[in-house]
Symmetry: none
DNA sequence: AAGGCTATGCTTATCGGTGAATATTTTCAT
DNA sequence: ATGAAAATATTCACCGATAAGCATAGCCTT
């Protein structure tokens, strides 16, 4: 299961180490796609297939838009022998990645954020501790 | 059932022994997450799985944020052959753990507190027995 | 063909995680 | 109370993950 928050650095060639705990779940090659909220989203091949199926079952104008967004915005990546992947320039740019990035596990996918963008996102008032406690109560934790 | 209060020490590598009475309930691997009052909160796999299912079924704009919050804020831990777990640096820092920690059972989860923080919390006026009595009355206990 | 660019791989240093060994304390049964 | 066994604390040595810099090979351009 992909969970946790890891702070890594891009090297000068735009490569980043994948947290070792994520490598088994992602597999040697995975699908990198543009995510919602200016982040990148990496799916194992299996997870990508099921995401794809969901997308293909949708109907209507919105569905066409989403398919264009996600299918055109995805690429296959390979983890090298040292556990790194190259983040293609287009994707670095899309997510505004600087040198410092945050890699987070969100259960079925792994997201890559620029560190500053992630911190900003997580400071959202909807994540105040009162709200969190409400959510936990609703969800039975 | 997880109940009781135990005083343990982190070793120099940031590991702590899990009270032997908790090991059966937690299982060999459990999920450690950031708790609400500067403490860490450990759930058995079963507890966490059911929480995860609830979380994945949420829909709407906040759902994505809550998933990111809860999944990124948790990590899987494994109890070693000597009954210890590593508390990752990020988590030690979050809960302000020094060498002396307190491990408390709260029925469905196990919490880890810095000893000083725990003592301070337990000296809270809201925990005077008169206040406890009032709270119980309000809740019809 | 020469120079430079890019992608990829290799090397080293550092740090944190892991496992073993041993010491100390606590618990429990006798 | 006493001894045995279990639990916890402490230390050391080793292994693996990550960061950073350098080296090499292939390719493009001129």
């Amino acid at each position: 299961m992909l969970i946790g928050e890891y702070f890594h650095n891009l090297d000068t060639k735009g490569r980043v180490s994948i947290p070792s705990k994520f490598r088994d779940d992602l597999g040697g090659t995975f699908v990198l796609s543009k995510g919602v909220n200016d982040c990148l989203c990496a799916y194992s091949k299996e997870e990508w297939e099921s995401f794809k199926e969901e997308l293909l079952q949708l109907r209507g104008a919105d569905a066409r838009m989403l398919r264009r967004f996600f299918f055109s915005g995805a690429t296959e990546c390979e983890i090298d022998t040292q556990g790194r992947v190259v983040i293609p320039p287009l994707y670095r740019e899309y997510a505004g990645l600087g040198r410092e990035v945050v890699i987070v596990g969100v259960s079925n996918c792994m997201e890559i954020w620029d560190k500053a963008a992630w911190n900003k996102y997580m400071n959202n008032p909807a994540l105040e501790s009162a709200e969190i406690e409400n959510a936990m109560e609703r969800l039975g934790l």
